[in-house]
């Protein structure tokens, strides 16, 4: 895909959004007049912020294939994924969590994580055989390790309905981690998470980032995000209004006015 204006291209971008947009019932949700364009580089920890209704979750939906962009293209790892189905996004290595945590209600916590892995036994032909049992065992082991890591080891056999909102978010992250995604999109990971757990979440994100996973995080809790991210994208009314390091963003008048109302911007 073509380069985006104003972006120096010294590194190859892992994810390129080039002029993507989405309209709902005639209302522009994402993209403005020219579409939304930005890059995420491999190994980065990128924050995506903006006031309510700025189009953050819609952008996530476009990047993860849940919605299809009205224009432009999304390239991931050199592959055009604009038209790919959502589950193919997941298979290409884009993982995501959701604004309201989603889980598989009929399963235990451990099963929820194991279900995150892709087992060859998920093919109809293989399901009746025995071959999937090996994969199942290693997935279960991996799931247990991950649960320990996110601090849910003692809840492994609990039904998910027993989990608190914060624990559900941790579970959602765990379910993605077992897939070892190249890029992980986290949608408001701290919402509804109590402060103690937030610290653990921060540590976890820092860890997985350090291990090489690229992260793109939507977060209202700027305190949390600005401390972790190394690059911030600011979205307002579907358009990218600013980007830069957390320090830049903190003092950017455009960002402040977007949050506090247009009056103060004028």
């Amino acid at each position: 895909m073509t380069a985006i204006a104003g972006q120096p291209r010294e590194r190859r971008a892992l994810l390129e959004a080039a002029g993507i947009s989405k309209r709902f019932a005639g209302l522009q949700a994402v993209g403005g007049s020219e579409g939304l364009s930005f890059d995420v580089f491999a190994g980065e920890f990128v924050g995506l912020i903006g006031p309510n209704g700025a189009g953050k979750s819609t952008t996530f939906d476009l990047l993860s294939g849940v919605l299809r962009s009205d224009s432009g293209a999304v390239t991931f790892d050199g592959r055009d994924v604009t038209e790919a189905d959502p589950h193919m996004h997941a298979r290409y290595g884009i993982g995501r969590t959701f604004q309201t945590p989603r889980s598989f209600e009929s399963m235990t916590v451990l099963q929820n994580v194991v279900a995150g892995a892709t087992n060859p036994g998920e093919r109809l032909g293989a399901a009746f055989g025995r071959k999937w049992r090996g994969g199942e065992r290693s997935a279960t082991d991996a799931a247990k390790r991950i649960l320990t890591r996110v601090g849910l080891a003692d809840r492994a056999s609990a039904p998910v309905s027993d989990l608190s909102g914060g624990e559900l978010r941790m579970l959602e992250v765990a379910r993605q981690l077992i897939r070892k995604p190249t890029l992980l999109l986290l949608d408001e990971p701290t919402a509804g998470v109590h402060p103690g757990l937030q610290d653990r979440l921060a540590a976890l994100l820092r860890d997985i980032h350090r291990e090489g996973m690229t992260l793109l995080v939507v977060e209202h809790n700027l305190h949390f995000l600005l401390a972790l991210a190394d690059h911030i994208l600011v979205l307002a009314e579907g358009e990218l209004i600013a980007q830069g390091t957390p320090a830049d963003i903190r003092v950017d008048p455009v960002v402040v006015s977007a949050y506090l109302g247009s009056d103060s911007a004028a």
């Binding site: 209302l27 006031p51 309510n52 209704g53 309905s161 909102g165 408001e188 919402a191 509804g192 109590h194 402060p195 937030q198 209202h220 809790n221 700027l222 305190h223 949390f224 903190r250 402040v256 949050y259 506090l260 109302g261 247009s262 009056d263 103060s264």
Partner: protein
């Protein structure tokens, strides 16, 4: 005290969202509720409006216990609720939206006139379906509909999100008038709070299903104060003094 909420605990099914909320509003007051996404603001509004059953705590309206009423009963007692989403009947015309609100009330037409006078755009579109209105018009209609029922307390759940500043200013003026005429208003906001705060008498900051801070409205208008609150998001640390 017009409306008094004490130790309200509520949520969806097994998920508890509100962990004991206290809040007060007297007649003629505009009370603002601030807080990040997921803080429980909408849950609070829904519980007071009768759409969710609290598991404990109480809601008093003019000293009478109105805890756990149905939405219909709450409306009858004078609680007007404008939900954040789906707050108009999209398939119905503008006029019919207002007529529905007038169903449980008599002397409806004067109410219509007032609404149409104040918002000529609604009068113009009175026979259009509400789904065809712009965002601002729709919010205006939603608030107008709630007002037709002549509530004692008006619960506004972010009626200004995504609206142009002009509309917000109009709405603030209008709500101000309503408050001046003796109505209590509880206004949930998440963004563009400055204009609204200027009109408010009091503000509550919610976080994690609790009220973490309570301010006089003017206090928040001090330069940089909101920014500090919203950008340097507080962690809901209870020990922290509000005026520090």
């Amino acid at each position: 005290m017009l409306l008094e909420i004490r130790g309200l605990v509520s949520g969806y099914g097994r998920v508890t969202v509100l962990h004991g909320v206290d809040l007060k509003a007297s007649a003629g007051e505009i009370v603002v509720v601030l807080g990040p996404n997921g803080a429980g603001k909408s849950t609070l509004m829904k519980t007071v409006g009768g759409h969710l059953q609290p598991t404990s705590g109480e809601v008093l309206l003019e000293g009478r216990d109105v805890t756990g009423l149905t939405a219909q009963a709450a409306a009858k007692h004078g609680i007007g609720h404008v939900p954040q989403e789906h707050n108009v009947f999209r398939e119905l015309t503008v006029r019919d939206n207002l007529r529905v609100a007038a169903l449980s009330h008599r002397g409806t037409d004067s109410g219509f006139e007032t609404v149409f006078e104040r918002f000529p755009i609604l009068a113009q579109r009175s026979s259009q379906r509400a789904a065809t209105l712009s965002g601002g018009e729709r919010q205006t209609l939603a608030v107008s509909s709630a007002l037709i029922g002549e509530p004692k307390v008006l619960l506004l759940d972010e009626p200004t999100s995504g609206l142009a500043p002009l509309f917000i200013r109009q709405m603030v003026e209008w709500v101000q008038e309503l408050a001046d005429s003796g109505m209590g208003v509880i206004w949930v906001i998440e963004q563009n709070p400055e204009m609204i705060l200027a009109a408010s008498t009091r503000a509550y900051l919610m976080h994690g299903g609790r009220v973490t801070d309570e301010f006089e409205g003017r206090e928040l208008l001090k330069p940089g104060r909101i920014r500090e609150l919203l950008l340097e998001e507080r962690q809901g640390a209870v020990g922290e003094s509000p005026t520090a």
